[in-house]
Symmetry: C2
């Protein structure tokens, strides 16, 4: 414990010092560093890919599965995509210094709200090396110093990436401690970091629920987290059935392993007889296993569509797989009640031609994104136009939904007077 | 521990259920409840003042000092002020449902950001019964259920106040569990509450540093906190000396016990010889004890103004008293360095006629409020025009500075499409 303490506190102190410089760094200097990061990532490709191959060999030896290796390994196109993502941030608007509001008080005081960086951001993630460059770039653009703790299985790759990125910081005249890797795999040092209130302003854990719970339970610093996405598509009585099928297919099957994929389809009783066979067949054709309520099972079985009965715990479950719970509901109120009970406040969608029903749904559903006639998959920083995201928050404090550059800032009051006193 | 667990979890569960109703309560219904709260506070005055007298007698018996009793005790004018503060919220704009931004994506998706309540707010405070009605009213207007845990010395008063407020909720047709008192004085039940992640969305501790540290160290739920205000006034080389004196006097002496009072005066070397005797005499006349750097001591002693030498730990210290540290600095850079080192990111002020110096100061100082030619005392929800505040945050996450109604909300994305998929 003592050893770990000596190890990570200086890291955080250097980050804090770097954050003071970054907070006032001019936009062109930060953008120059971002472009330099992309250049250095490309130039260091041989070293980075060699490190990735080494990490991959070790992971294979450790018996990691194909999905794990897929997230872990880099190849030339993936590295190029990382470089482009970093570069793209250079052309986004700098959130720091943005005046979000201004007003005048009766006593003549002029008040402005102005964005400033959060300070030091600690990112904790698993073996996905692209997060290293994404998070570093987002933090830099928003004026924050970054402490990055990736999964230990990606340690060689992350070190090679960070080495390239740091060179760009140095060349742009920015403090190289604006970006530091935290030793991976040491639980003691992570615990230590999570207690460094006053040195670290925000911790963002990204990964499995176990990791996130560990962080929440042990942190004394603020955490913005994302537990899980139990997202619903509700096909309302007035839904365009073709549109509802298209949206359900996309929400479930386009990428079942992500948090904005749908896990449950709610079907209004009024359209169940017509809609269920149509959507069921389309889903089955895409290899989706359906787990239905008794009504669903009856309708689909009569229509010759394969279906299993849903267990009670299939509702509210994040399958992250080609499995979909299906439930017939009496009406909008029943759909709202189901979502209130089983939803995870992540993403919820309604398909309907009825503007009043849509208005009630979007107003009453408490989730980070509520969609009307669009796929749940749009709850994503890029898709919503934030430019890029560092994660999706399911807690309402500070940020709810995708966290882009703005969500990596806070706001201060700047007040201009002519000698006013109270 | 088990007993406490059984006691407070149902409280939080009822608050959560109430919060779901409150989140969709129409503005007129909430405003009606607020006006009813004011009415019931007035009608219950005899009971509330009797309870206050009992609390006061017990506190006197327990040997509490005059300052404590002053915060604890209510009289008719104070109760009327509480009723008026609650009433005033009825005429403020409802933050819930406010569309803060809207934009269109290239694929035709229409995106809106819309305010929604945080959910359940746990307020922890000391023996100041006015916080009970203030916090209850702010939470109600912003659609949040409130769990209020005041100091045990005010338990009788708080119970009488909550009884009056709850009647108004019932009459307005709102869930009475929207406002619940938490048993005061039981540390076990507080610890239990602080771990109820998923049931409580935000904890706001208000009080001494010991209380706040206890909350931060034990909470698994998000905390927005305010540690202390070590606020500076910097009289720049181009300051109007009369204005600088007026602002310094107001910042230090108008109410020395509050967090936005100044604790340190920085004087530019260029004006030290003229300004220090002037401001020093004015401060001394108000009974302010000055603790100066060697230069300050020299100048003031020659001018016949009483001054003590400052100890190193007088910088960065929150006196909350008629004591002011005074330091002569070389220039703007030295002032910024001093504030960076000793400030608490609460409130900082510069007095200058030089717009460029002011611009650097307001940009570079990282504090929740930075003032140019105005007193630090203006960092206050009412003074800045937020209407009312539930506390002042010195952490940058979620809210930085005064927390008004808006800061008691989050924002969700509402997306309107025509069948778009990814």
């Amino acid at each position: 414990m003592t050893v770990a303490k000596q190890d990570v506190r200086p890291l955080a102190e250097r980050a804090r010092a770097a954050s003071r410089v970054l907070a006032n760094a001019p936009t062109p200097q930060k953008d120059e560093a971002l472009r330099g990061m992309a250049r250095h990532l490309r130039a260091a490709a041989p070293a980075i890919l060699a490190a990735s191959a080494e990490d991959g060999a070790a992971a294979r030896k450790a018996g990691k599965n194909a999905a794990f290796l897929d997230r872990l390994l880099l190849d030339a196109p993936r590295l190029e995509a990382m470089a482009r993502a970093v570069e793209a941030l250079a052309s986004l608007k700098d959130p720091v210094g943005e005046v979000t509001e201004t007003w005048k008080r009766p006593n003549g005081l002029q008040v402005r709200k102005v964005r400033l960086p959060l300070g030091v951001v600690l990112m904790i993630y698993e073996a996905r090396p692209n997060v290293t460059s994404d998070a570093a770039a987002l933090c830099l653009k928003s004026g924050n110093a970054a402490l990055l703790r990736g999964g230990s299985e990606a340690a060689r790759t992350n070190a090679a990436i960070a080495h390239a990125l740091t060179q760009a910081l140095r060349e742009a005249g920015l403090p190289e401690h604006a970006l530091q890797l935290v030793p991976a795999g040491e639980r003691e040092s992570l615990l230590e970091l999570l207690k460094l209130e006053g040195l670290i302003d925000l911790c963002i854990p990204r990964g499995g629920e176990g990791l996130i719970r560990f962080v929440v339970e042990n942190a004394r610093i603020p955490v913005v987290k994302h537990y899980q996405g139990v997202c619903h598509v509700y096909a309302h009585a007035d839904a365009d059935l073709e549109m509802a099928t298209r949206i359900t297919l996309n929400a479930k099957a386009s990428r079942p392993g992500v948090c904005n994929a749908a896990e449950c389809l709610l079907v209004d009783r009024a359209i169940a007889e017509h809609f269920l066979p149509e959507v069921g067949r389309a889903l089955a054709d895409q290899g989706v296993e359906l787990r239905g309520c008794p009504t669903t099972v009856g309708v689909l079985t009569r229509a010759g569509v394969p279906v299993k009965p849903a267990a009670e715990d299939d509702y509210g479950r994040e399958f992250l797989d080609l499995i979909l719970a299906v439930r017939v509901v009496k009406d909008l109120d029943a759909a709202l009640a189901h979502i209130g009970r089983y939803g995870s406040e992540h993403t919820e969608a309604i398909v309907t031609g009825d503007a009043q029903a849509a208005s009630r749904f979007t107003r009453e559903v408490q989730a980070s994104a509520v969609l009307w006639n669009a796929s749940t998959r749009f709850n994503d920083g890029g898709e919503l136009g934030l430019g890029a995201e560092i994660g999706i928050s399911t807690s309402r404090l500070h940020a709810f939904g995708p966290m882009g550059l703005r969500e990596l800032t806070s706001q201060k009051y700047i007040v201009h007077g002519q000698g006013q006193v109270r």
